[in-house]
Amino acid sequence: MAAARSVEEDLLRLLRQNPQGVTDEALSAALPGVPIEERVNAVNSLLAANRLQLLKNSSNKIVYKEVAAEEAAKFKGLSTEELLLYQCIKAAGNTGMPGITKILKVLESRRLVKSVKNVNNPSRKVYMLSELEPSRELTGGAWYTENQFDSEFINVLREACYSYIKRKDKVSSSLGEIAAFIRSRGFSKVELRIEDIHTIIMTLVYDGRVDEVEPEGDEDEDHYRLAVLGIPDSTSLTDVPCGVCPVAGECAEGGVISPQTCIYYDKWLEF
């Protein structure tokens, strides 16, 4: 550790002596006893701490310059991308650089980069090279087509799973079977992982159309079959207007809302 620090100190002293910058070759020449690994490490840590900056000189060689203390403070916390951009603007000097957005537009028109909307936060855009596929987090996964929640697609999948389970009737189907079936039918261009199929089937369970069955024996996959106890479409309570009334709490005899004047009753009793 002490050795590394001394390497860093040496580097900094060297840079201070040469305010116009020190090339990489000059560094290795000035510190003969230091192996290249250690030197590289020292350079990297100084870079990260913003004690020195990396520049390219006119002959395209890498040049290191020390960063004055105040300047270091200014740059603290900036990300690499921001620093890079800063350097570009600095290099432009007095003439400055054309607008950033304009640059992006030019690149986009030349089809070099594309913008991808984040599904969780549609107002943020992310730019990447045109050839790349955006990662799963950005697009939301299989359920989002063009960043829209694809209910149609999901419904199709649900119904397919349901009909498969229904066809198997008394025998329960395992998760693996259903997944294989869905994949074989080629419903989706995107590859559906087994967790996705599981989520789809669970929505059927929550709808009360499919039951989850504990597997017997050694299998540890869940099995599914048609629900035995259907949920009735209506109950005596909901057949009466009071059962589905949004203002049931405010209804009282003689009040503004009362059973005698209730409009829902009027509608119910209109024959």
Partner: protein, 634 residues
């Protein structure tokens, strides 16, 4: 926020008011609000005249809407304080009024037309003596009393033995102790022996012995009735001594032997007082009960021996005993400790509990049939039939353990009796094993019996829970669509979840999920809990989780059912009131028996509309009552 009890009270008061009029309704309302009250306080509280209150009370007692108890007198330093009668409204029985037609339908299917007539007569008049039953039913059947007396009597006895009909409790049982809710009492140490508190506790415990005595007598067929069945000629009077002895032998004298004797004396005393209080002025509605009370008093008068109205009849054994059962009281002397003798008059009434028990079993078997298959339903019917004699109350949580052998014999018995359709396909033991392995734990395997055969227990409460859960899910589906149902079941199966997790698992768009959750929160179906990350509950720094509590929702729905029934009832009354004139016109036409009377087309339309509307509403009331039964009485 009104509670279930409050909605139930409102509905009960409405029902009483509709059936028996405003004055009676007023008295009932006051009693429902105040609990157990003596007569004087009722008169003061309702502000009605004493005679009106008395008549109203008589009607209510006659119709079993109000129970009467005798608060025994106490010895105190100032001298013996007299006992007095206390009145308490019986909400449970009043709420069963809507279910009466279901009772009749069931009894007709099970026991035939004569039984239906008997039950109908009892439901109409509340409580009746045997001879009144005979007269009324004969009139209903349109035949002369002599021809049908025997059939009626036979059917009647079988109804009593099946527990559909019970004895009306006497008016001098002590009032049930009002026990404070366990939450309101700080945990207290058991009072030391010998102290006053200890004595009070012991007293409360022993009082229930008298309740036990009443319970034992509830379904006893009186000896003279049984004798009549077997062909003895005299009706009670001459054979009274033999009857009393038989009666004494037939009834196991409980420790309340003294209580029993005191009861008869008290019974006579009460009825005499009722007669004293009764005015000869007969208000039309109260005429029948008033007359009956006088008849009651009239027959009792001959039997009463020594009790004076003022003295506490229950005061101590030995004092003022009248060996009841007959004027020939000399036969069974006052020193005989055995004879818990028959009260002079026995009144009978319908036992709602038995009907509700039957309906409960039907609902349970229905669920099993849906969830499993017909065989399972048959086996469960047999199990319930086997366990029935041991059920102490309607709302049993679980049954007694039943061995496989018993169940098999009952299955066989029921199949031959024609109750079950056909022999089950699978053997009974296999069906039982399938039932017991169901994850909802509706049946459990209890200990293994003596010969190594397994014993099973029905967890009735779990079965009812499942029925209620299905109903609740249906309510959620109707109110909040399939998305709401999905969220509800998701939370019920997975516990506490954050909004984002809910949206992901249910595969619903985030915006929709948020709206739906808040709507369901307003409806009381989900609960929201904040879990703060920081010391202050800043919303940006807290987790918000959602969950459902099925028990809470069941309670809430039970209350909502009463409320909805009340409102349907109100609306029906209102609609009838609107067309009062038209109805009056029809009534007068019917009475005058005119066949042709002109109605304008508007009136005709109005009549049709009224008819359809009242049909719809009455059927709704019946359907609602079915659901009320599931949520409240089962």
């Amino acid at each position: 926020m009104s509670s279930r009890k409050q909605f139930a009270c409102d509905l009960a008061i409405r029902l009483v008011q509709e059936q028996y009029g405003d004055a009676v309704g007023g008295v009932f309302k006051y009693l429902a609000a105040k609990g157990q009250l003596p007569l004087g306080e009722i008169i003061r509280g309702t502000g009605l005249s004493a005679s009106l209150v008395k008549q109203a009370l008589l009607i209510l007692i006659q119709q079993n809407c109000v129970s009467v108890y005798l608060q025994p007198g106490e010895e105190s330093f100032r001298g013996a304080r007299p006992s007095f009668h206390v009145y308490e409204c019986d909400l449970g029985r009043v709420l069963q009024i809507i279910r009466h037609s279901r009772f009749l339908l069931h009894i007709r299917d099970e026991a035939g037309e004569v039984a239906e007539h008997i039950v109908a007569q009892l439901l109409q008049d509340g409580r009746l003596r045997m001879d009144q039953v005979l007269g009324g039913v004969a009139a209903r059947m349109g035949k002369a009393q002599e021809e049908v007396a025997d059939t009626i009597r036979n059917t009647f006895i079988s109804l009593v033995q099946a527990h559909y009909v019970e004895r009306a409790p006497l008016c001098n049982a002590p009032p049930p102790t009002i026990r404070p809710h366990p939450n309101s009492v700080k945990a207290r140490k058991k009072p030391a022996g010998g102290g006053e508190a200890f004595a009070a506790e012991q007293g409360a415990a022993s009082r229930t012995l008298e309740e036990l005595a009443i319970e034992k007598a509830r379904f006893k067929v009186p000896a003279d009735l049984a004798l009549q069945m077997f062909g003895t000629t005299t009706a009670g009077g001459g054979n009274a001594a033999a009857a009393a002895a038989l009666g004494g032998g037939a009834e196991a004298a409980a420790d309340g032997g003294g209580g029993g004797d005191g009861a008869t004396g008290g019974g006579g005393g009460v009825k005499r007082r009722a007669e004293d209080e009764l005015e000869l002025l007969a208000v039309p509605k109260s005429a029948p009960p008033a007359k009956k009370a006088r008849i009651r008093a009239g027959t009792a008068r001959a039997d009463v021996v020594t009790s004076t109205p003022g003295a506490g009849p229950g005061a101590g054994p030995g004092a003022g005993r009248s060996s009841g059962g007959g004027a020939a009281g000399g036969g069974a002397g006052p020193s005989s400790p055995v004879a818990a003798a028959e009260p002079p008059v026995v009144l009978w009434r319908v036992n709602n509990d038995e009907f509700n028990r039957v309906f409960r079993h039907q609902a349970m078997v229905g669920l099993i049939r849906e969830k499993f298959d017909e065989d399972a339903a048959a086996v469960v019917t047999a199990m319930l039939a086997t366990a029935r004699p041991h059920e102490a109350s309607v709302k049993e949580e679980r049954s007694v353990p039943l061995s496989e052998g018993e169940i098999e014999t009952t299955v066989g018995r029921l199949t031959t009796a024609g109750v079950l359709e056909a022999l089950p396909q699978q053997p009974v033991s296999a069906v039982l094993r399938t039932l017991a392995s169901d994850p909802f734990e509706m049946f459990s395997l209890a200990a293994t019996g003596m010969q190594g055969s397994p014993m099973y227990v029905i967890n009735s409460q779990r079965v009812i829970d499942l029925i209620m859960l299905k109903q609740i899910e249906a309510v959620v589906k109707s109110r909040y669509d399939i998305a709401g149902l999905r969220v509800f079941r998701l939370l019920a199966l997975r516990g506490q979840l954050e909004q984002k997790q809910i949206a992901d698992l249910a595969m619903l768009p985030q915006k929709d999920t948020r709206e739906l959750l808040y709507r369901m929160l307003a409806g009381g179906f989900v609960l929201l809990q904040d879990i703060p990350k920081s010391a202050d509950r800043a919303p940006s720094r807290s987790f918000y989780t959602w969950r459902v509590s099925v028990t809470a929702i069941c309670e809430a729905t039970a209350g909502q059912l009463f409320r909805a029934t009340g409102r349907v009832h109100q609306r029906l009354k209102f609609e009838m009131e609107k067309e009062k004139e038209l109805l009056g016109l029809l009534e007068s036409a019917k009475e005058a028996k005119t066949v042709n009377f002109t109605l304008t087309t508007a009136q005709r339309q109005a009549v049709n509309r009224l008819k359809r509307m009242s049909e719809v509403m009455e059927t709704s009331l019946q359907h609602l009552d079915e659901m009320i039964a599931v949520f409240n009485d089962f």
